[in-house]
């Protein structure tokens, strides 16, 4: 079956690499530490050693495509000729344009985590995996900063939303992959809708008048996974 033609975006950009600035408190969160909790000094030192080992393994990169918002209801968004369904319509209320993005930390960090787990060091494996999670999130944030160049005076960004978490069923992932050039950063979508490399983040973010899109919430505030150890 021939590949479907990609919809034409208003603009797009691929960033290889994306800048990452390690923040230990964020890595601690990805390791499962509650907000404002920090590990004891000895464990913090062990984590710092693993972070130092992990940083050269990271391959942060990302791509986005920007589309005009063609239509919007509380339960849908239309862009690039496709309709994204779910509460995302309500969450992106006020947006005039929508960027679809994919960012990744690369595959090497996961491979190394598997090696360490396989060797019986679940602590190192867990810590490397957490660094990978942090790096994928941070790559997505760095990519979102690149969107500033597309904002007009008085405009701002909505929160980012990802399929499978809040407002969008995981099945919408297929549409996101049609709307972006994930292949340019080495990210593919498996039949289970899992991204490979596994430490990747996809999502959408709205651009619109700051007064309409500004919020004090985080995406986690709208996520039903209250037991998630990554919760902010």
């Amino acid at each position: 079956m021939p590949a479907l033609e990609k919809p034409a975006p208003l603009a797009s950009e691929t960033c290889i690499p994306l800048p990452l600035v390690p923040r230990m408190e964020e890595i601690f969160r990805c390791l499962g530490y509650a907000r404002r909790a920090a590990p004891p000094a000895a464990i913090a030192r062990a984590i710092e050693r693993i972070v130092a080992e992990a940083l050269p393994l990271l391959q942060p990169r990302g791509t986005y495509s920007l589309y005009a918002l063609e239509a919007q209801t509380a339960r849908s968004l239309s862009l690039g000729g496709l309709v994204l369904e779910g509460n995302i319509g309500e969450f992106l209320h006020g947006a005039a344009r929508v960027a679809v993005f994919v960012a990744t930390a690369g595959a090497e960090i996961t491979r190394q985590a598997e090696v360490r787990c396989g060797a019986g060091d679940a602590f190192a494996g867990w810590a490397l995996d957490a660094v990978g999670s942090w790096a994928a999130e941070s790559a997505a944030e760095a990519l979102q900063e690149r969107l500033d160049r597309h904002l007009s005076a008085g405009e701002g960004l909505t929160l980012p939303y990802s399929p499978g978490y809040c407002g969008m069923d995981l099945a919408e992932q297929r549409k996101l992959f049609r709307l972006t050039r994930a292949d340019t950063v080495g990210v593919s979508l498996l039949p289970s809708l899992l991204m490979e490399p596994i430490k990747s983040v996809s999502g959408i973010i709205g651009l619109g008048p700051r007064a309409a899109v500004a919020t004090d919430l985080t995406p986690c505030d709208r996520c039903p996974l209250i037991g998630c150890h990554m919760r902010r």
């Binding site: 000895a42 062990a46 787990c117 899992l194």
Partner: protein, 250 residues
């Protein structure tokens, strides 16, 4: 010979694959003093080392206990088990987090590596034998690894089948390893149905009644566990270990 231990735990490492080559080997050096039960031995150093996740200190304390002729079964019962119970309690209370769990589990695992030959000689049984895997279609393994490490740290023998595990591989492992527990992991709503498929495969192969099935993963819920006929839902690694203990004790 089967040893009934305190806290309803049993240990038998006679079937542990890594011990097969050592079955007829010379007695373990630590066996030279012919250990006898020492009920009044002070295990506080061992417990403290496990609680702090300090593997070298834990193995040193265990070695010291064995040199003082402490029965290895007693070492497990009065040293390791209460410490790991406390680790679980601290995690549930929000005082410990995943890294602390893993470090304590690693310390305990290293102590088990030290005392396993002695437990083999006594014919003691592991707490239980668990087959673990991430279901077909899913590649997430870190949560499953965490559960595996915690189970090993609590005296279970863990057969980790990895990720993207086909239902027939679970069936084969249950049969081959005589497992009592199966742990299924999934991190995606799209791969959760593979848990149901796996349970159906267990039923079709006639092994479902031999094992207890615990399922877990971020999108999994108690209602889903009940709907597909699993025996339990493990909300986190500490809960999964507690459930496994209870299920093998039945």
């Amino acid at each position: 010979m089967r040893f009934r231990l305190g806290l309803k735990r049993d240990f038998d490492f006679a079937q542990h694959p890594s011990d097969e080559a050592g079955q007829d080997a010379a007695p373990h050096p630590l066996e030279s003093q012919r250990p006898t039960p020492v009920t009044m031995y002070d295990f506080s150093k061992l417990r403290a080392a496990v609680l702090a996740g300090r593997a070298p200190d834990a193995t040193a304390a265990a070695r010291q206990a064995l040199e003082a002729a402490v029965d290895p079964v007693e070492l497990v019962n009065q040293g390791i088990a209460p410490a790991m119970d406390e680790v679980g309690r601290l995690y549930e209370a929000g005082e410990y987090f995943v890294p602390e769990l893993l470090l304590s589990a690693r310390a305990t695992k290293e102590v088990f590596q030290l005392i396993r030959p002695l437990l083999v000689q006594k014919g003691a049984q592991p707490t239980g034998r668990v087959v673990l895997g991430t279901v077909q279609g899913d590649l997430h393994d870190i949560g499953k690894n965490l559960v595996g490490a915690m189970l090993e740290g609590s005296g279970f023998e863990v057969i980790d089948l990895g990720v993207n595990v086909a239902p027939n591989k679970f069936v084969a492992a249950i049969t081959e390893k005589q497992a009592q527990i199966v742990g299924l992991s999934a991190l995606l709503t799209t791969t959760m149905p593979a848990m149901k498929t796996t349970l159906e495969a267990l039923r079709a192969a006639g092994v479902r009644d031999r094992v207890k099935v615990i399922i877990g993963g971020a999108p999994v819920t108690p209602a889903f566990a009940q709907a597909i006929g699993a025996d339990a839902y493990g909300e986190n690694a500490a809960v999964a270990v507690d459930l496994a203990r209870k299920l093998v004790a039945r």
